[in-house]
């Protein structure tokens, strides 16, 4: 096998840590991923040797910092197959990227009562609340696809119709693991002239994503879930749309000229990057993309599919465990949410932590998804390129312990 998980793990300093006397079993990568030495080092070297502000200086440090920042943009553009680096806008996280589109595109389209925005019942709050607020501001109506018992999007005919202006959908659910089939949605949106945004926060880190193959208009993703640092996210948008949209955040570096009486704006991406951007973070994210490319996103995805298949099979045999989301690895990623009969997720997570197994518990910033399955909270194990089958076994042993305490 080409994918050597032991070698990968050796690159992640934190994986040698112990938690409560047990080796760390980190099963919370959908929340935030761990960072390899290569990313941590790239940021440290940048700060120790090349730190300067970008796009503003003719001096050597400023020029080096600007090159490093723009090189990162180029790497990320190539990673998602953008047409040009100018289609990549750096934000602070996915959430800002979605808010940017909700504000700027909402204004560009002059949304008004009667217009509709379509999302789904399996969205993260970051792809719900910005659209609710946009509807509040403009009088547009929010509609949504519902979710089947198996955790699949129900493609309801007519939901996307002539009133639809924007469709914004999660690519891979952070709760159910479901990978949505984007094709039919894009086709329906195109047929009525609606624009499509994909929340790729959970897909870009785990699968090959090609924005042109997807045929969408915008995608958002976030550095800290893809081996990169906190403090940086990405908006990709089709250049002609970005070029037509008004700015969102305003200030330094996004202007063409400023007088007290009025301001004209720079072309994208600068137009959408007001103020000093996350420079060292862009360098770190560039290093993360290098790391992922060196392994190959197909190989990463393949590894996670194997882990997921193993986990689905293993968890199915644990008494009292109820899985939410697709029960086979097809069309889903390595994020498994479940309930344990009679035990609250908080207590499940606490006991797992006591044996070194780190899972997330709660509503996962997706309350409507939890509500859909009639629970206020779930326990979630999520995997990445460093996850091993041994760690799945540790999870299962931890669940035995849960049953012992609450039995």
């Amino acid at each position: 096998m080409t994918f050597d998980v032991a070698r990968v793990r050796a690159d992640f300093p934190i994986l040698s840590r112990e938690i409560n006397g047990h080796p760390l079993v980190y099963l919370d990568s959908a929340n935030t991923s761990q960072k390899p030495r290569q990313v941590i080092d790239a940021m440290r070297v940048h700060n120790e040797r090349h730190n300067g502000n970008v796009s503003r200086s003719v001096h050597t440090l400023g020029t080096e910092a600007t090159s490093a920042y723009e090189d990162a943009r180029g790497k990320i553009a190539a990673f998602v197959n953008a047409a040009t680096p100018d289609e990549i806008v750096f934000t602070k996280n996915s959430t800002e990227a979605i808010n940017l589109v909700a504000h700027s595109l909402g204004q560009h389209l002059s949304l008004k009562p009667g217009d509709e925005i379509v999302i789904s019942e399996m969205e993260h709050h970051s792809n719900i609340v910005p659209w609710q607020l946009l509807c509040d501001r403009t009088g547009a109506t929010l509609r949504w696809f519902s979710v089947s018992d198996e955790g699949r999007l129900i493609f309801e005919d007519g939901l996307i119709n002539s009133r639809t202006k924007i469709v914004s959908l999660v690519h891979m659910s952070n709760v159910l693991g479901t990978i949505n089939d984007v094709g039919p949605i894009v086709a329906a949106a195109r047929s009525v002239g609606a624009l499509v945004m994909l929340d790729c926060s959970q897909s870009v880190p785990h699968l090959p994503v090609d924005v042109r193959a997807l045929g969408v208009d915008f995608i958002a993703f976030t550095g800290h879930k893809m081996l990169g640092p906190t403090g940086i996210g990405v908006l990709w948008g089709r250049h002609e749309l970005l070029a037509a949209m008004p700015p969102f955040l305003a200030g330094g570096s996004m202007i063409e000229t400023v007088t007290m009486g009025g301001t004209t704006f720079a072309a994208p991406p600068a137009r959408f990057e007001a103020g000093t951007p996350p420079i060292a973070e862009a360098v770190g994210l560039g290093a993360a993309v290098d790391y992922l490319n060196a392994l190959g996103m197909e190989a990463v995805h393949q590894h996670e599919q194997e882990i997921t298949a193993y986990a689905l099979k293993t968890l199915a045999d644990v008494p009292g465990v109820r899985l939410f989301g697709p029960s086979t690895p097809e069309g889903r990623g390595g994020t498994l949410s479940f309930g344990v009969d009679g035990v609250h997720p908080h207590d499940v997570g606490q006991i797992l932590d006591a044996v070194g197994v780190e899972v997330r518990v709660g509503h996962h910033c997706a309350k409507p998804t939890c509500a859909r399955f009639g629970v206020p909270a779930m326990t979630r194990a999520s995997f990445y390129l460093y996850t091993t089958t041994d760690e799945i076994d540790a999870l299962v042993r931890g669940l035995d312990q849960v049953r012992k305490v609450f039995g």
Binding site: N20, G21, H344, P345, H346, D347, Q350, I351, D353, A354, V361, G362, H363, K367, C370, P376, A377, V405, F406
Partner: protein, 154 residues
């Protein structure tokens, strides 16, 4: 953090066999509180004389057991007794494990001493107590205490 001290037998008992659970009439004050980070919820009702404190909610063992203990400790107390116990419980929870609980005052509540060492769980234990305070205020009963200032700053 190891589990020693978190899941005391007393807590698991209250969780599995809650005292006074269920919303009852009549009542003069009601409050619904949510823990936004985890989604736990509780509704608390009080009569003006505190003769009954009833509650219902969804939550983990810590928050549910805490509600059961609250019911036991505060039902039938005077407002000033309740304020004192409330203050002692909040102080225990915010003490990061440094506060020695007084069994005279807190009864079964002393079992929560270990929870104070788990910052992520302190909110679970406090959820019913915060809802109670709001419900009491709505019933015209003032159980606020001097510990409140520190609570805001915590």
């Amino acid at each position: 953090m190891m589990l020693d001290g978190l899941y005391q037998e007393i807590i698991l008992d209250h969780y599995k066999h809650p005292h006074g659970r269920g919303l009852r009439d009549p009542f003069q004050g009601e409050a619904h509180h949510v823990n936004p980070t985890c989604g736990d919820e509780i509704t608390v009702r009080v009569t003006q004389d505190l003769s009954d404190i009833s509650y219902d909610g969804l939550g983990c063992s810590i928050s549910q057991a805490s509600a059961s203990v609250l019911h036991e400790l505060l039902s039938g107390r005077t407002a000033s007794e309740a304020a004192g116990i409330h203050e002692a419980f909040v102080a225990l929870m915010q003490g990061r494990g440094q506060v020695e609980p007084d069994e005279e005052v807190l009864g079964d509540g002393i079992a929560f001493a270990g929870v104070a060492k788990f910052p992520a769980r302190v909110k679970c234990a406090l959820l019913p107590w915060m809802a109670f305070k709001d419900a009491a205020a709505r019933a015209g009963v003032d159980v606020s205490s001097s510990s409140e200032a520190s609570e805001v700053k915590a």
